[in-house]
């Protein structure tokens, strides 16, 4: 998690305007989810992955590891779509696979397999679109754009605060974990569970404590609102290469839909 933020600050697309990255990733996301077309999904996955790895220069290993998470989720999800269950003994003729048990029959239909493959591809390539945004754009660059899109300030401020608190949470849990490990808190199975329970309860307490202190600090600095107007952010121009990439991508995608 800490790594993702580090990558977002240090990558090949750092100098590209946030709006442009947002267009590329959200645009592709929309095309994939609306078209629900297998070849479009594969094409998107290809484009996004190559942009992430070759253009943004994010280490392939990091990207593959990150992609394992949505892979696991979508695979787990499609199992329930693929496998059907029947409590009667009616046998469908075009089953690909079946398993009789005394109580019910498990079976797989070809149409379900097609549907599952489609859902899997769409979900998987949609997550690659989001990764493109997450891995190349720090959160505070997105806030001014959200503000321009008339998202209420309170929502944006909440997003920023939640973002900050994720790191506080992670840092606190890592510190507590090391402190416990240093005193052999995870020596045995039983101990591990006890330590984990303690860790979680202390974590919540420390987060509330932290929150209180932070409120005091914000009060004492007179901070009322904290979205930084983009005058103070580094000006980033729209660049030609990502734009051309996007146009090419859209044309190929439209072509694929109608083929």
């Amino acid at each position: 998690m800490l790594n993702i933020d580090y990558i977002a600050h240090h990558n090949g697309l750092q100098k590209v305007a946030a709006g442009q990255k947002l267009l590329l990733s959200i645009g592709a996301l929309l095309i994939v989810t609306v078209s629900r077309n297998n070849s479009v999904a594969l094409w998107t996955l290809l484009v996004m992955s190559s942009v992430i790895v070759f253009y943004a220069k994010i280490p392939l290993k990091a990207y593959v590891t990150l992609m394992l998470a949505p892979l696991g989720f979508s695979l787990a999800g499609i199992v329930t779509i693929v496998v059907s269950i029947s409590f009667t003994n009616e046998v469908n003729t075009d089953m690909l696979w079946h398993l009789f048990t005394p109580f019910a029959t498990l079976y797989i239909l070809p149409s379900d397999v097609d549907r599952a493959i489609n859902i899997f591809l769409v979900a998987f390539s949609a997550s690659s679109c989001l990764y493109l945004l997450i891995l190349t754009t720090p959160i505070y660059e997105i806030s001014p754009i959200l503000l321009k899109c008339k998202v209420p300030t309170i929502v944006i401020e909440l997003i920023e605060l939640i973002y900050r608190f994720i790191f506080i949470f992670l840092q606190a849990s890592m510190q507590l974990y090391t402190a416990q490990q240093a005193r052999l808190g995870y020596k045995s199975y039983k101990m591990s569970f006890q330590s984990l329970v303690l860790l979680i309860s202390v974590l919540f307490r420390s987060i509330f404590f932290h929150y209180e202190k932070m409120t005091l600090a914000m009060k004492s600095r007179n901070i009322e609102h904290f979205i930084i107007p983009d005058v103070y952010l580094l000006k980033k121009k729209w660049q030609r290469l990502p734009l051309i990439l996007f146009i090419v991508y859209v044309f190929v995608a439209i072509g694929l839909i109608f083929v």
Partner: protein, 287 residues
């Protein structure tokens, strides 16, 4: 009447769990002084600062700011906090922005200044605390000492009249600890008051010209340094280390009659100058 920023009139503060953090304090915080707040752990220093910032209300007594009682409504507190800045002991509690520069920006942004003034103040604060190279670094990739410097820069950028530092050197290395008093010297103007709480006496002895000692929620000393640091009983009571300059001078005074009337110096240089002067006089006599 000497000008003062704050005056406390019989102020007491009780935490909701019944801890008496401040017990019937009356004192004034003068204008333009460099004040060191000393006292053992749990003597009430941090609570005193919270009272000064209007973060807590005294349970008894009144606090005056520039001669008027503090108003605890929104605009009153806002006005107070524009003029009084606090650097928290834990930098992590104070920083919440994504990057260094943004965190420093937040304070000034809320002050209705012009864009030019804000940018120049922020740049000044960054230059002062030597953070140029870290400007666009996310906060959670900084070390403890770097975070502390960001916290100081963030408060400094708001140009407070009263600058409060709660144990600022607790996570700074030697270089930045000594550097801090240099920063403060640069910020020193006739009408700016500093409040600096610390356990590292030697760092502030040369710099601070006014001392407030707290002990169990009470003020047990207010005033100049000489009377404080020669009062051994008081130092022991409040767990205060004697500055080495004072110790060495006292040892000299007691070692030989010729050193007997050395005046208490306020800096290394003054001590050495006195010794050199005495030595020269002696050389003249022996000739």
């Amino acid at each position: 009447m000497t000008a003062s920023y704050f005056s406390f009139e019989h102020v007491s503060f009780l935490y909701s769990d019944g801890t008496q953090a401040i017990n019937d304090i009356s004192l004034t915080i003068p204008v333009g002084n460099k004040i060191a707040i000393l006292g053992e752990n749990g003597s009430g220093k941090s609570t005193l600062f919270k009272l000064l910032m209007g973060l807590e209300r005294p349970t008894k007594g009144t606090i005056l700011f520039k001669g008027k009682p503090l108003k605890y409504n929104k605009s009153g507190l806002q006005q107070l906090r524009q003029q009084v800045g606090l650097v928290f002991q834990e930098a992590d509690h104070q920083l919440f922005a994504s990057t260094v520069k943004q965190d420093i920006l937040y304070g000034p942004l809320n002050l209705d200044w012009s864009i030019e003034k804000i940018t120049s103040q922020v740049d000044k604060a960054i230059a002062l605390t030597e953070l140029e190279e870290l400007e666009n670094r996310p906060i959670h990739f900084l070390s403890g000492g770097q975070k502390k410097r960001v916290a100081i820069a963030g408060v400094y950028a708001m140009e407070p009249k009263v600058l409060i530092l709660d144990e600022p050197t607790s996570s700074l290395d030697y270089y930045f600890s000594t550097q801090l008093t240099d920063y403060l010297k640069k910020l020193d103007t006739d009408d700016r008051t500093f409040l600096y709480s610390t356990h590292q006496i030697n760092l502030v002895y040369e710099w601070a010209d006014y001392y407030i000692v707290l002990h169990k929620g009470k003020v047990i000393y207010v005033g100049e340094r000489d009377a404080l640091f020669t009062n051994d009983a008081l130092l022991q009571q409040a767990h205060i280390e004697k500055p080495w300059i004072v110790s060495v001078t006292q040892m000299l005074q007691n070692s030989d009659p010729q050193w007997g009337n050395i005046a208490m110096p306020h800096s290394k240089e003054a001590l050495v100058a006195q010794i050199v002067a005495l030595q020269k006089k002696e050389d003249l006599i022996s000739i």
